[in-house]
């Protein structure tokens, strides 16, 4: 019983981080209608940015996250303005191919620059735990969870209650009307892709504090983000929290009962099930 509780808590904490990973992908998908296959590579870059800020300057990894976010925002903004904008009206197949190409390029650039070695972001307090009701909770995972959920909720509030947030939602709901009412699609798209990349970057930094990183972590993380976005739906940013928690818990339970080799089998099994049963996502496209 205690083991099950321990595993469930671990799943929930992981799920929060998954939610933040998927948020940027879902946002870009909903507004630009692009499934960004390079999303995981951006998460990977965010992890390395945080790692080098931490090891290079001694900055606390959590304090480094805002800088990581800015760096990734700029990278995302440039990718959208320089590359994706050229195919924005093209068929979805083109944007899939191009973002896949970007993923490959970023992955191998990272291998060249950072080497294929495993790295971990280990501040002095990384080993701290605390115990609640007999369950051991690692401090780093709690911090990552809290920041991830906090950012996701903040993003939801931003989209709901600010002028720019409304403009982003307007562009995703009705592009013609948005253009007629003063929304410039070029700048909204670049901004949205920048925000999506910044969120990926922060998620990557947090991932690096709870797990090891290497240049190849991007691919599987893109796939998981995709699964979560499908489960949660694209319309409501809080949907990714549901999707993330579902995936986190399913993965942890699978690791407990079937062995950790089957982790990914379970998470993509969930994806396939959701696509069959509820093709619009569990939460649908509602606000």
């Amino acid at each position: 019983m205690e083991l099950l509780a321990q595993v469930l808590v671990g799943g929930v904490l992981l799920g929060g981080l998954y939610a933040l990973m998927a948020l940027g992908l879902a946002l870009v998908w909903g507004v630009l209608n692009i499934v960004n296959l390079s999303h995981g590579a951006l998460i990977m870059l965010g992890a390395y940015a945080t790692y080098y800020l931490f090891t290079g300057t001694g900055l606390d990894p959590f304090a480094a996250l805002p800088i990581t976010a800015i760096v990734l925002f700029v990278i995302g903004w440039l990718i959208q303005r320089g590359i994706l904008n050229l195919v924005i009206r093209g068929p979805m197949f083109n944007t899939l191919l191009i973002t896949f190409g970007i993923e490959v390029i970023l992955t191998y650039l990272a291998q060249l620059l950072f080497s294929a070695d495993f790295r971990a972001i280990n501040p002095p307090y990384a080993g701290n735990n605390f115990r609640v009701l007999g369950i051991t909770i690692p401090l780093m995972q709690v911090l990552a969870f809290a920041i991830a959920i906090g950012l996701t909720v903040a993003m939801w509030l931003f989209l709901l209650h600010t002028r720019v947030g409304r403009g982003i939602r307007a562009a995703s709901q009705n592009l013609v009307a948005a253009r007629l009412y003063g929304v410039n699609p070029r700048s909204i798209y670049a901004l949205t892709f920048g925000i999506g990349s910044a969120l990926a970057g922060v998620a990557g930094g947090l991932y690096g504090t709870v797990s090891q990183i290497n240049p190849y972590i991007g691919g599987p993380l893109t796939a998981k983000s995709f699964a979560i976005a499908i489960i949660g739906g694209l319309e409501n940013p809080l949907g990714v929290i549901v999707g993330g928690l579902v995936l986190g818990i399913v993965e942890s339970l699978t690791a407990l009962y079937a062995g950790s080799t089957y982790r990914d089998v379970a998470s993509f099994g969930v994806l396939i099930l959701v696509l069959i049963l509820r093709p619009t996502g569990l939460l649908g496209r509602t606000t």
């Binding site: 403009g167 009705n174 009307a177 253009r179 319309e235 496209r285």
Partner: protein, 238 residues
């Protein structure tokens, strides 16, 4: 006429290879209500899309003395030339109030925006009851009110209304036309595009008749209403 608020000269536009508009020249004076009437497929909606710069066009469009021929859609909107598009095109999954706030997207004056929201709820009391409702879930008439209120939230100098009457009960159409007269009294110029020739000419000062992408007649609303050709073609009288 040099003091026209909106003027097009030899405007041409179309979709890809297909040319829809040929040589459209018209002028709208400040505080006028001008109607553009014609049957389905005459190119009226295309004309508004070209003026709003949603589609590329040739020829010259000037608004308030400045050329907007090479502006983008959001710049045209920013200059005060605001369109209420055909089919309303509301943001369906936003509340009524959010739709109205989208009309003020380019404005920064928070307090004045809140004042204007109250004005809209006075002008359209039906919307006041539904401010939290999703725009897509309302009736056609309420959606049209919401679309007009959204346009007015931009504080337009000229409001172009495309096929306002489409699919609405005559009672609602009359109500909206009355509102339009009230709006004009506040100094907003209105360019009305309508298939319902009778309704449009009943509130307009002047009108243009379009047929297959060209303007075939123009004159005061009274002249057009009594024009035998217009009566025969559009008003169903002999």
């Amino acid at each position: 006429m040099a003091d026209a608020l909106l003027e097009t000269r030899a405007l041409t536009a179309g979709y890809g290879e297909m040319q829809v508009l040929r040589d459209i020249s018209l002028a709208v004076q400040p505080a006028e209500i001008v109607a553009i009437v014609g049957s389905n497929g005459a190119g009226k909606t295309t004309l508004l899309r070209a003026i709003s710069r949603l589609i590329p066009c040739g020829g010259e469009v000037t608004f308030d003395g400045k050329s907007v021929s090479h502006a983008t859609a959001d710049e045209v909107f920013g200059s005060g030339l605001v369109q209420v598009p055909e089919g309303r095109q509301l943001f369906d999954r936003m509340s009524v109030e959010e739709n109205l706030r989208m009309g003020a997207y380019r404005r920064g004056d928070r307090r004045a925006i809140d004042d204007d929201l109250d004005r809209m709820y006075t002008l359209f009391p039906r919307l006041s009851d539904r401010r939290r409702q999703l725009a897509g879930s309302m009736s056609g008439g309420e959606q049209q009110m919401c679309a007009m209120a959204r346009a007015l939230m931009a504080r337009p100098r000229l409001m172009m209304v495309d096929e306002m009457s489409l699919g609405l009960a005559p009672v609602i159409v009359d109500q909206l036309l009355e509102t339009m007269t009230a709006i004009r009294k506040e100094g907003v110029t209105v360019l009305l595009v309508e298939q319902d020739v009778h309704a449009a000419l009943s509130v307009a000062d002047r009108g243009y008749v379009m047929e297959t992408g060209e303007i075939v007649r123009e004159g005061s609303a009274r002249e057009l209403e009594s024009d035998p050709e217009v009566q025969r073609a559009y008003l169903g009288e002999v």
